[in-house]
Subunit: 166 residues, 2 copies
């Protein structure tokens, strides 16, 4: 991303934003991109992409997780997860084993190297988070997180409702 000749739309009183001014999605997009870029810079060019870091993080925390569950947890389609896992596997960070009791499924686990890499990246993630915390502050952050979660749940399509929920 890394735009060079644009500016935060946030700070241009000379341009009238109209309805956009109170359009949450617009600022959600800008904030998401800012956070994404900042984290990408922190990770560096040869590291994991943020999306794959999310996968590795969930696998690390849930050894043996299957891909369908992983897709749900990460908010991605299973086909996208397949692609991400391949990349993690190619780097030797995870390994997959077939489940004996259901041979359609694969259990994903972080390899020893994957754990090391994960910890290293998690440290960078914490740098990124500290930067955000300094901007947002603890109180606002908690409120922000819960508000974002409410938006995700509140706007969910019917089809997006998980199987096990009313």
């Amino acid at each position: 991303m890394t735009i060079v000749d644009t500016a935060p739309a946030t700070d241009r009183p000379d341009v009238e934003l109209g309805i956009l001014e109170e359009f949450l999605g617009f600022y959600l997009r800008l904030a998401y991109e800012s956070a994404f870029d900042d984290f990408s810079r922190e990770l560096g060019p040869d590291s994991l992409k943020p999306g794959n870091f999310a996968l590795l993080s969930i696998i690390f925390e849930n050894p043996g997780i299957t891909q369908t569950v992983l897709a749900r947890a990460s908010g991605r389609d299973k086909s996208s997860v397949t692609a991400g896992l391949r990349q993690l596997e190619d780097k030797g960070l995870i390994e997959r084993t077939r489940l004996e009791d259901d041979r359609r499924s694969y259990a994903s686990r972080a390899t020893p190297e994957g754990c090391v890499v994960y910890e290293r990246i998690a440290a960078k993630a914490r740098n990124h988070m500290r930067r955000l915390d300094r901007i947002v502050g603890a109180k606002r952050k908690a409120l922000l997180m819960s508000t974002l979660k409410d938006i995700v749940d509140g706007l969910a399509e019917d089809g997006e409702t998980p199987a096990g929920r009313p």
Copy 2:
């Protein structure tokens, strides 16, 4: 987008998210996508894309705006703006005229039809916003907006700082 077999990651106590749990960017992404999808659904398949709606909105509010300024205001590169404007022009919603005093620049304006279409879409945008307001509430929304703006400004790269600012 419109994922069918995933669920809000927000509501899965059975999956441990680890560091992701407090990772703002992760929820920023989910919330952004939810809002984007909701607005896209509201607009319908043959209407404008959210990104082009943002352009039209800014043009509508700032008749005669040039593309470089538009790029800054919308947070996009000028090449992306060029593509978006072409689509709006092809639909007859905007028109561009060369500036007499600087013949490198073009002034963009909404056509009469563009104004009509804009108002129609703006009404849909308000439906979308009402839905969000119902979820978030007025108080939290104000706080959310200002927090998002602070994130955008606070994380801005040096290169992203607008020319006219310290």
